[in-house]
Symmetry: C2
Subunit: 134 residues, 2 copies
DNA sequence: GCCGTGTTGAGAATGGTTATCATTACTGAT
DNA sequence: ATCAGTAATGATAACCATTCTCAACACGGC
Protein backbone atom coordinates (compact mmCIF):
# COMPACT_ATOMS: atom_id res chain seq x y z
CA UNK A 1 0.00 0.00 0.00
CA UNK A 2 1.18 3.41 -0.94
CA UNK A 3 1.94 5.51 2.08
CA UNK A 4 2.50 8.64 0.09
CA UNK A 5 1.14 9.61 -3.28
CA UNK A 6 2.95 11.93 -5.63
CA UNK A 7 1.14 15.07 -6.62
CA UNK A 8 2.21 18.08 -8.60
CA UNK A 9 1.29 20.18 -5.56
CA UNK A 10 4.01 18.77 -3.34
CA UNK A 11 6.55 19.16 -6.08
CA UNK A 12 5.40 22.71 -6.78
CA UNK A 13 5.93 23.66 -3.16
CA UNK A 14 9.35 22.03 -3.06
CA UNK A 15 10.43 23.83 -6.21
CA UNK A 16 9.01 27.18 -5.18
CA UNK A 17 10.77 26.90 -1.86
CA UNK A 18 14.08 26.12 -3.54
CA UNK A 19 13.56 29.00 -5.93
CA UNK A 20 12.99 31.51 -3.12
CA UNK A 21 15.98 33.28 -1.68
CA UNK A 22 15.67 33.18 2.07
CA UNK A 23 13.14 32.15 4.63
CA UNK A 24 9.57 32.55 3.52
CA UNK A 25 6.21 32.12 5.16
CA UNK A 26 3.52 29.72 3.98
CA UNK A 27 1.31 32.63 2.98
CA UNK A 28 4.06 34.34 1.00
CA UNK A 29 4.96 31.11 -0.76
CA UNK A 30 1.31 30.56 -1.63
CA UNK A 31 1.10 34.06 -3.08
CA UNK A 32 4.27 33.44 -5.06
CA UNK A 33 2.89 30.17 -6.43
CA UNK A 34 -0.30 31.87 -7.53
CA UNK A 35 1.66 34.70 -9.06
CA UNK A 36 3.44 32.18 -11.26
CA UNK A 37 0.21 30.58 -12.36
CA UNK A 38 -0.22 27.72 -9.92
CA UNK A 39 -3.74 27.29 -8.57
CA UNK A 40 -2.54 25.39 -5.50
CA UNK A 41 -4.56 25.81 -2.33
CA UNK A 42 -3.28 27.51 0.80
CA UNK A 43 -3.99 24.55 3.06
CA UNK A 44 -1.94 22.35 0.76
CA UNK A 45 1.01 24.71 0.98
CA UNK A 46 0.83 24.53 4.75
CA UNK A 47 0.67 20.74 4.65
CA UNK A 48 3.53 20.40 2.18
CA UNK A 49 5.77 22.73 4.17
CA UNK A 50 5.05 20.85 7.38
CA UNK A 51 5.96 17.61 5.62
CA UNK A 52 9.16 18.98 4.14
CA UNK A 53 10.14 20.24 7.56
CA UNK A 54 9.43 16.90 9.21
CA UNK A 55 11.44 15.07 6.56
CA UNK A 56 14.38 17.42 7.08
CA UNK A 57 14.22 18.87 3.59
CA UNK A 58 13.36 22.29 4.93
CA UNK A 59 14.31 24.37 7.93
CA UNK A 60 11.58 26.06 9.84
CA UNK A 61 11.71 28.60 12.58
CA UNK A 62 9.55 31.21 14.25
CA UNK A 63 10.19 34.75 13.09
CA UNK A 64 10.38 37.38 15.84
CA UNK A 65 6.86 38.35 14.77
CA UNK A 66 5.65 34.85 15.53
CA UNK A 67 5.19 33.65 11.98
CA UNK A 68 6.50 30.25 10.95
CA UNK A 69 9.01 30.64 8.13
CA UNK A 70 10.61 27.99 5.94
CA UNK A 71 13.66 27.53 3.83
CA UNK A 72 14.93 24.78 1.61
CA UNK A 73 17.90 23.14 3.28
CA UNK A 74 21.16 23.30 1.39
CA UNK A 75 22.75 20.91 3.80
CA UNK A 76 21.20 18.34 6.01
CA UNK A 77 23.82 19.05 8.67
CA UNK A 78 23.06 21.00 11.78
CA UNK A 79 23.46 24.69 11.17
CA UNK A 80 22.11 28.11 12.02
CA UNK A 81 20.93 31.20 10.17
CA UNK A 82 21.69 34.83 9.60
CA UNK A 83 18.47 36.35 8.35
CA UNK A 84 17.66 39.76 6.89
CA UNK A 85 14.44 40.90 8.49
CA UNK A 86 13.78 43.20 5.55
CA UNK A 87 14.17 41.02 2.49
CA UNK A 88 14.48 37.56 4.02
CA UNK A 89 17.88 36.82 2.51
CA UNK A 90 19.54 34.11 4.55
CA UNK A 91 23.01 32.80 5.10
CA UNK A 92 23.58 29.42 6.66
CA UNK A 93 26.27 29.68 9.27
CA UNK A 94 28.42 27.33 11.23
CA UNK A 95 28.57 27.87 14.95
CA UNK A 96 31.11 25.44 16.26
CA UNK A 97 31.91 27.56 19.30
CA UNK A 98 28.24 27.95 20.07
CA UNK A 99 27.62 24.22 19.87
CA UNK A 100 30.28 23.65 22.49
CA UNK A 101 28.98 26.48 24.64
CA UNK A 102 25.42 25.19 24.48
CA UNK A 103 26.22 21.66 25.52
CA UNK A 104 28.53 22.89 28.27
CA UNK A 105 25.92 25.24 29.72
CA UNK A 106 23.21 22.60 29.55
CA UNK A 107 25.41 20.06 31.30
CA UNK A 108 26.45 22.52 33.99
CA UNK A 109 22.80 22.96 34.92
CA UNK A 110 21.98 19.27 34.83
CA UNK A 111 19.89 19.59 31.69
CA UNK A 112 19.66 16.71 29.25
CA UNK A 113 18.40 16.33 25.71
CA UNK A 114 19.23 19.94 25.08
CA UNK A 115 18.41 21.59 21.81
CA UNK A 116 19.21 25.17 21.03
CA UNK A 117 17.74 27.96 19.02
CA UNK A 118 20.49 30.17 17.65
CA UNK A 119 19.63 32.63 14.93
CA UNK A 120 20.67 36.14 14.05
CA UNK A 121 18.26 38.63 12.56
CA UNK A 122 19.54 41.86 11.06
CA UNK A 123 19.66 43.99 7.95
CA UNK A 124 21.70 42.59 5.09
CA UNK A 125 24.25 44.75 3.30
CA UNK A 126 21.81 45.62 0.50
CA UNK A 127 18.99 46.55 2.81
CA UNK A 128 21.35 48.53 4.99
CA UNK A 129 22.46 50.53 1.95
CA UNK A 130 18.86 51.03 0.86
CA UNK A 131 17.92 52.24 4.32
CA UNK A 132 20.85 54.65 4.33
CA UNK A 133 19.70 56.20 1.06
CA UNK A 134 16.26 56.87 2.49
CA UNK B 1 4.47 66.30 31.55
CA UNK B 2 3.81 62.80 32.58
CA UNK B 3 4.79 60.37 29.90
CA UNK B 4 3.60 57.38 31.87
CA UNK B 5 0.86 57.18 34.45
CA UNK B 6 0.88 54.73 37.31
CA UNK B 7 -2.01 52.34 37.51
CA UNK B 8 -2.70 49.35 39.73
CA UNK B 9 -3.03 47.30 36.55
CA UNK B 10 0.59 47.70 35.52
CA UNK B 11 1.73 46.85 39.01
CA UNK B 12 -0.59 43.85 39.16
CA UNK B 13 0.92 42.46 35.95
CA UNK B 14 4.44 43.09 37.15
CA UNK B 15 3.76 41.32 40.45
CA UNK B 16 1.91 38.40 38.89
CA UNK B 17 4.77 37.93 36.47
CA UNK B 18 7.33 37.93 39.28
CA UNK B 19 5.19 35.46 41.20
CA UNK B 20 5.07 32.99 38.33
CA UNK B 21 7.84 30.44 38.07
CA UNK B 22 8.93 30.20 34.47
CA UNK B 23 7.83 31.69 31.18
CA UNK B 24 4.12 32.37 30.91
CA UNK B 25 1.81 33.56 28.15
CA UNK B 26 -0.31 36.70 28.30
CA UNK B 27 -3.47 34.63 28.30
CA UNK B 28 -2.26 32.40 31.13
CA UNK B 29 -1.19 35.41 33.17
CA UNK B 30 -4.58 37.02 32.63
CA UNK B 31 -6.29 33.85 33.83
CA UNK B 32 -4.03 33.75 36.86
CA UNK B 33 -4.81 37.39 37.67
CA UNK B 34 -8.54 36.75 37.46
CA UNK B 35 -8.16 33.61 39.58
CA UNK B 36 -6.66 35.74 42.33
CA UNK B 37 -9.46 38.26 42.18
CA UNK B 38 -8.12 40.90 39.82
CA UNK B 39 -10.64 42.20 37.26
CA UNK B 40 -7.92 43.41 34.90
CA UNK B 41 -8.68 43.28 31.19
CA UNK B 42 -6.91 41.03 28.74
CA UNK B 43 -5.85 43.87 26.46
CA UNK B 44 -4.23 45.59 29.40
CA UNK B 45 -2.25 42.49 30.25
CA UNK B 46 -0.97 42.38 26.69
CA UNK B 47 -0.05 46.06 26.83
CA UNK B 48 1.65 45.79 30.19
CA UNK B 49 3.70 42.79 29.10
CA UNK B 50 4.74 44.52 25.91
CA UNK B 51 5.83 47.54 27.95
CA UNK B 52 7.73 45.48 30.51
CA UNK B 53 9.47 43.73 27.66
CA UNK B 54 10.37 47.01 25.96
CA UNK B 55 11.71 48.44 29.19
CA UNK B 56 13.83 45.36 29.76
CA UNK B 57 12.00 44.31 32.90
CA UNK B 58 10.74 41.17 31.24
CA UNK B 59 12.10 38.74 28.72
CA UNK B 60 9.90 37.60 25.93
CA UNK B 61 10.36 34.90 23.39
CA UNK B 62 8.31 32.84 20.98
CA UNK B 63 7.56 29.36 22.22
CA UNK B 64 8.12 26.62 19.66
CA UNK B 65 4.33 26.61 19.27
CA UNK B 66 4.42 30.25 18.23
CA UNK B 67 2.99 31.80 21.37
CA UNK B 68 4.70 34.81 22.92
CA UNK B 69 5.79 33.99 26.45
CA UNK B 70 7.17 36.29 29.13
CA UNK B 71 9.27 36.09 32.25
CA UNK B 72 10.27 38.58 34.87
CA UNK B 73 13.93 39.46 34.47
CA UNK B 74 16.14 38.89 37.47
CA UNK B 75 18.80 41.03 35.86
CA UNK B 76 18.39 43.90 33.50
CA UNK B 77 21.49 42.87 31.62
CA UNK B 78 21.34 41.12 28.32
CA UNK B 79 21.12 37.39 28.84
CA UNK B 80 19.67 34.17 27.51
CA UNK B 81 17.70 31.21 28.78
CA UNK B 82 17.93 27.56 29.54
CA UNK B 83 14.37 26.28 29.58
CA UNK B 84 12.93 22.94 30.64
CA UNK B 85 10.42 21.92 28.02
CA UNK B 86 8.73 19.67 30.53
CA UNK B 87 8.12 21.87 33.56
CA UNK B 88 9.04 25.32 32.26
CA UNK B 89 11.74 25.95 34.83
CA UNK B 90 14.13 28.52 33.50
CA UNK B 91 17.68 29.54 34.21
CA UNK B 92 19.11 32.82 33.03
CA UNK B 93 22.49 32.33 31.47
CA UNK B 94 25.36 34.48 30.37
CA UNK B 95 26.70 33.96 26.90
CA UNK B 96 29.70 36.22 26.59
CA UNK B 97 31.34 34.07 23.94
CA UNK B 98 28.11 33.88 21.97
CA UNK B 99 27.71 37.67 22.01
CA UNK B 100 31.11 38.04 20.43
CA UNK B 101 30.44 35.29 17.94
CA UNK B 102 27.10 36.79 16.92
CA UNK B 103 28.39 40.27 16.26
CA UNK B 104 31.42 38.91 14.43
CA UNK B 105 29.34 36.69 12.16
CA UNK B 106 26.88 39.50 11.43
CA UNK B 107 29.69 41.91 10.59
CA UNK B 108 31.44 39.37 8.36
CA UNK B 109 28.30 39.14 6.25
CA UNK B 110 27.72 42.89 6.12
CA UNK B 111 24.67 42.71 8.33
CA UNK B 112 23.75 45.62 10.59
CA UNK B 113 21.40 46.07 13.50
CA UNK B 114 21.79 42.43 14.33
CA UNK B 115 19.84 40.82 17.10
CA UNK B 116 20.14 37.23 18.06
CA UNK B 117 17.89 34.55 19.40
CA UNK B 118 19.85 32.20 21.61
CA UNK B 119 17.94 29.83 23.83
CA UNK B 120 18.43 26.27 25.00
CA UNK B 121 15.50 23.94 25.52
CA UNK B 122 16.02 20.67 27.37
CA UNK B 123 15.01 18.59 30.34
CA UNK B 124 16.02 19.94 33.74
CA UNK B 125 17.72 17.70 36.28
CA UNK B 126 14.44 16.94 38.07
CA UNK B 127 12.53 16.12 34.92
CA UNK B 128 15.42 14.01 33.69
CA UNK B 129 15.34 12.01 36.92
CA UNK B 130 11.57 11.66 36.71
CA UNK B 131 11.84 10.46 33.12
CA UNK B 132 14.50 7.93 34.12
CA UNK B 133 12.23 6.46 36.81
CA UNK B 134 9.46 5.91 34.27
C1' DG C 1 -10.51 1.22 -16.84
C1' DC C 2 -11.82 0.42 -11.79
C1' DC C 3 -11.61 0.91 -7.20
C1' DG C 4 -9.91 2.17 -2.70
C1' DT C 5 -8.18 5.62 -0.29
C1' DG C 6 -4.74 9.26 0.25
C1' DT C 7 -4.92 14.17 -1.18
C1' DT C 8 -6.81 18.46 -2.24
C1' DG C 9 -8.99 22.98 -1.47
C1' DA C 10 -12.77 26.37 -0.44
C1' DG C 11 -14.42 27.93 3.28
C1' DA C 12 -15.35 27.67 8.21
C1' DA C 13 -13.34 27.46 12.60
C1' DT C 14 -9.73 28.37 15.90
C1' DG C 15 -6.72 30.93 18.70
C1' DG C 16 -3.47 34.48 19.72
C1' DT C 17 -2.87 39.30 19.28
C1' DT C 18 -4.07 44.00 18.08
C1' DA C 19 -7.23 47.89 17.01
C1' DT C 20 -11.46 50.63 18.37
C1' DC C 21 -13.34 53.94 21.00
C1' DA C 22 -16.28 55.35 24.71
C1' DT C 23 -15.31 55.63 29.48
C1' DT C 24 -12.32 56.02 33.37
C1' DA C 25 -8.88 57.97 36.30
C1' DC C 26 -3.92 59.68 36.80
C1' DT C 27 -1.39 64.08 37.33
C1' DG C 28 0.14 68.58 37.11
C1' DA C 29 -1.69 72.99 37.57
C1' DT C 30 -4.67 76.24 39.72
C1' DA D 1 -9.34 70.00 46.91
C1' DT D 2 -10.94 70.94 42.26
C1' DC D 3 -10.29 71.01 37.47
C1' DA D 4 -8.82 70.06 32.88
C1' DG D 5 -6.22 67.56 29.76
C1' DT D 6 -5.13 63.31 28.26
C1' DA D 7 -3.03 58.68 28.96
C1' DA D 8 -4.89 54.24 30.24
C1' DT D 9 -8.36 50.91 30.43
C1' DG D 10 -11.44 47.24 28.79
C1' DA D 11 -15.39 45.17 26.26
C1' DT D 12 -15.60 44.13 21.89
C1' DA D 13 -14.64 43.73 17.14
C1' DA D 14 -11.20 43.10 13.88
C1' DC D 15 -7.14 40.84 12.28
C1' DC D 16 -4.29 37.24 10.72
C1' DA D 17 -1.81 32.93 10.72
C1' DT D 18 -2.87 28.33 11.04
C1' DT D 19 -5.79 24.26 11.33
C1' DC D 20 -10.03 21.78 10.53
C1' DT D 21 -13.90 19.96 7.71
C1' DC D 22 -15.53 17.26 4.26
C1' DA D 23 -17.10 16.65 -0.40
C1' DA D 24 -14.78 16.25 -4.71
C1' DC D 25 -10.74 14.60 -6.74
C1' DA D 26 -6.93 11.80 -8.59
C1' DC D 27 -2.91 8.57 -7.71
C1' DG D 28 -1.60 3.95 -8.35
C1' DG D 29 -2.00 -0.94 -7.67
C1' DC D 30 -4.92 -4.15 -9.85
MN1 LIG E 1 23.74 24.49 16.79
MN1 LIG F 1 23.01 37.70 23.63
ZN1 LIG G 1 17.96 42.38 3.09
ZN1 LIG H 1 11.81 20.40 34.29
Amino acid sequence: MAVRRNTWQREAVREALERSEGFISAQALHTELHRTGSPIGLATVYRALADLSTEGEADSLQSPEGEAIYRSCATMDHHHHLICRQCGTTAEIEATEVEAWASRVAAEHGFTEARHVVDIFGLCADCTAAAARA
